[in-house]
Symmetry: C2
Subunit: 357 residues, 2 copies
Amino acid sequence: MARTLKLALIPGDGIGPEVVTEAVKVLDAVTAGSDVAFEKTHFSLGAARFLETGDVLTDDDLAAISGHDAILLGAVGGVPGDPRLKNANIERGLLLKLRFALDHYVNLRPTTIYPGVPSPLASHGDVDFVVVREGTEGPYVGNGGAIRVGTPHEIANEVSVNTAYGVERVVRYAFEKAASRRKKLTLVHKTNVLVFSGSLWQSTVNRVASEYPEIAVDYLHVDAATIFFVTDPARFDVIVTDNLFGDILTDLAGAISGGIGLAASGNINPDGTYPSMFEPVHGSAPDIAGQQKADPTAAILSVALLLDHLGLADQAARVREAVVADIAARDGSPRTTTQIGDAIVSAITTPALENSH
Amino acid sequence: MARTLKLALIPGDGIGPEVVTEAVKVLDAVTAGSDVAFEKTHFSLGAARFLETGDVLTDDDLAAISGHDAILLGAVGGVPGDPRLKNANIERGLLLKLRFALDHYVNLRPTTIYPGVPSPLASHGDVDFVVVREGTEGPYVGNGGAIRVGTPHEIANEVSVNTAYGVERVVRYAFEKAASRRKKLTLVHKTNVLVFSGSLWQSTVNRVASEYPEIAVDYLHVDAATIFFVTDPARFDVIVTDNLFGDILTDLAGAISGGIGLAASGNINPDGTYPSMFEPVHGSAPDIAGQQKADPTAAILSVALLLDHLGLADQAARVREAVVADIAARDGSPRTTTQIGDAIVSAITTPALENSH
Ligand SMILES: CC(C)[C@H](C(=O)O)[C@@H](O)C(=O)O
Ligand SMILES: CC(C)[C@H](C(=O)O)[C@@H](O)C(=O)O
C-alpha cells in the first residue's frame, strides 16, 4: 500500500535553491524503496519572481500550495538595499503570509549542540532544547499604523495581539512536547512590562500546567533568558514563547549551537487543516548565493522535522543520524553545498544497503 | 568655589543596599578633598517600603527626588512569587515610573570585556560598545489592554508607541556618542516585521546620518544582532535601538562581558530638565541579599557614569581605572561585597596620595 504525499517546494532566493536541492536529494534517498513517495511541485516565489512579475504571493499560488501535504522552503529575500525591492517586503508578503494563511501556530525550532561543532561558547553542557514559538499572533499581526508620516509629528504604533485561543493552543502543544521529552517547560515573556499579554500567557501556562503535574514549569523574562542562553543553555528543555521573543531567541540559539547553518524549523499547523512548512532558520544570504558555499544541513534537518510531522519517524531518525555522523566527521576543510548533501545521502544509503542483506 | 551636588539615593531591595553602600564609598573617596561634594538623601523605596506602607512611589516622593541633581539606584523588586507583592509590580510602579516621569529618554548601557574577566565566549576581540536604548517609548508605554479577561475569549493587546520627537532625540544622542567614539553606529530594529515603527526609526537614522558624514551607519535586525553579540561583538561601537530590543540586548551584552555583575547603566535626561538616574543593570537578587555575596562593581561603574554626566570626567576616569585594576587583580578567590568596594577605594586613594607628594 504505497502512499503518495504531495510536497510543495519553494526554493526561493539566494542560497535557497542550492540548499533545497540537497534537502530533496536526502528526502529521496531516505524514502527510496519504501512505501512512501513524494510528488513534488515547484513554486517559483520570492524576490526573483517579484522582480519578474510584480507578484509576491497570489491567491492562486496560495490555493495551489494549500492543496499539498507539506511545504519545504529554502529562503526568501533579495539583495539588501536593492531599490527595486524597496516596497516589496517579501518577508511579510510571502513568508509571514504563508505562516498566517496556513495557520502555522507552532513555530518549532530545536537546538542541539552537536558533538564536533565548534560553539562560540567556551563551555556548555549537553544542549538539547526546543523553542515552541507562537506563529500567528503577537507583534507579527501587522496591526500597526502611522499618522503624519514624514513630519516631525509622526506617530507610529505597533499592536501586539494575543488571544486566549491563540495562546492556549500553542501552550498545549508545548506541554505535550515537554511530556514527550525531559518534562521541563519554561515560559519566556516580559510579564513585568507587557502586563496584559504577559498575564494572559502566564495564566494560561498556570492553568494548563495543572493538567500536567509531571512537568516542571518555570518562567524567565526574555532578557534574563538571553543570559542563560550563553551561560547555561543546558538547563532548557522546552521553551514556549511569543512570536517576537521566539524570533530573537532562536537566532541566538542558532548562534550558540555553532551557527544558523545548522538550525532547522517547522511552521506547523498541528490540526492538519493546512499543510505545515519546513525551512532552515537562515536567510537567503545573497552574498554567497550560487557559489556552493552554503551549508545545506539546516535544510536537511528541516526535512527530518517534515518527516516527523508526516508520521515517518524512522526516516526522520535516519536523516538525523546521517547528519550527526557527517558533522562528527567534519575536519574543518571546506566542502561544497553538494558535497555535504552527497555525504549525508551516502551516510543514509550505506547502512540501509547493509541492513538489506 | 566648592560645588555641592544633591544626590538622591534609592538603595532599594535585596542586594541593592549592599552595592549602593560600596558605590557611595567610592563616590566619597574619589571626590574627597576636591571642590565638589555630594549631599545625599536616602529614599526608602521598593518592595520593603510597599509591604510596610502600601506605597510604591508617591507624588511627594517623586517631587522630592526631582529636586536632586542625580539619582543613584541599587535595585528594586521583592522575592519572586511573594503573594503580598502579586499586584504591586514594583518594576512598573517605581523603576519605569521614574524613567518616564523624569523623561529618561536615553538609557545608556556600555559593554566592555575587561582583561581578566572570564567571558562565556570562547574567543572575542576587543569588545567596547555602548547601547543607546530609548527609554520613554516603545512597548514600555503601558498602552495595552485586555478584554474578557479570564475567559476563553480573552484578547490582550500591547501597543508600542513611537514618535518622531521621541525617536529623533535619542538617535541624535547616539550620533553624538558615536562622533566622540569610533564613529560607527548600528541601528537595531525589526523593520521587516514592525514596518510602521521600523520605518520611523530607519528614516530618522537616515536623515540624521546625513548631518554626520564621518559616521559609518549600518542596520541589523534584532534577531541577527543577537548572533553577532556572540560571534563578533567587537564589531559594535554605538548601537541605537528601541526600549524593548535594548532591554534584551543589554542583558545579553552583560552576559557575554562576564556577567551582569559588571554592567552599569545610566537613565539619562540629556536636556537636564530632570535628574538622571544611574543603576546597575542587575536586579535585586533576593536569594543572595544580605550575605555580602553581591559584586558591587556594576553599581560602582554606574557612579562613573554619574560623574561623567555631571561633568566630572576626571573623577569618572579614576573610578574606571580603579575598577579595571581591581578586575585585573582578581584571581577567582571569593571576596565579600565590602572587600571589593574597599579594594576599589584603595586603588583610588593610593595613587591620589602619591600624586599629592
Ligand atoms: C524573515 C523574518 C520575517 C522571519 C521572522 O521574523 O519570523 C525570520 O527572522 C524567521 O525567524 O523566520
Ligand atoms: C525591571 C525591568 C522593568 C527593567 C526593564 O525591562 O527595563 C530591567 O530589565 C532593566 O533592563 O532595567
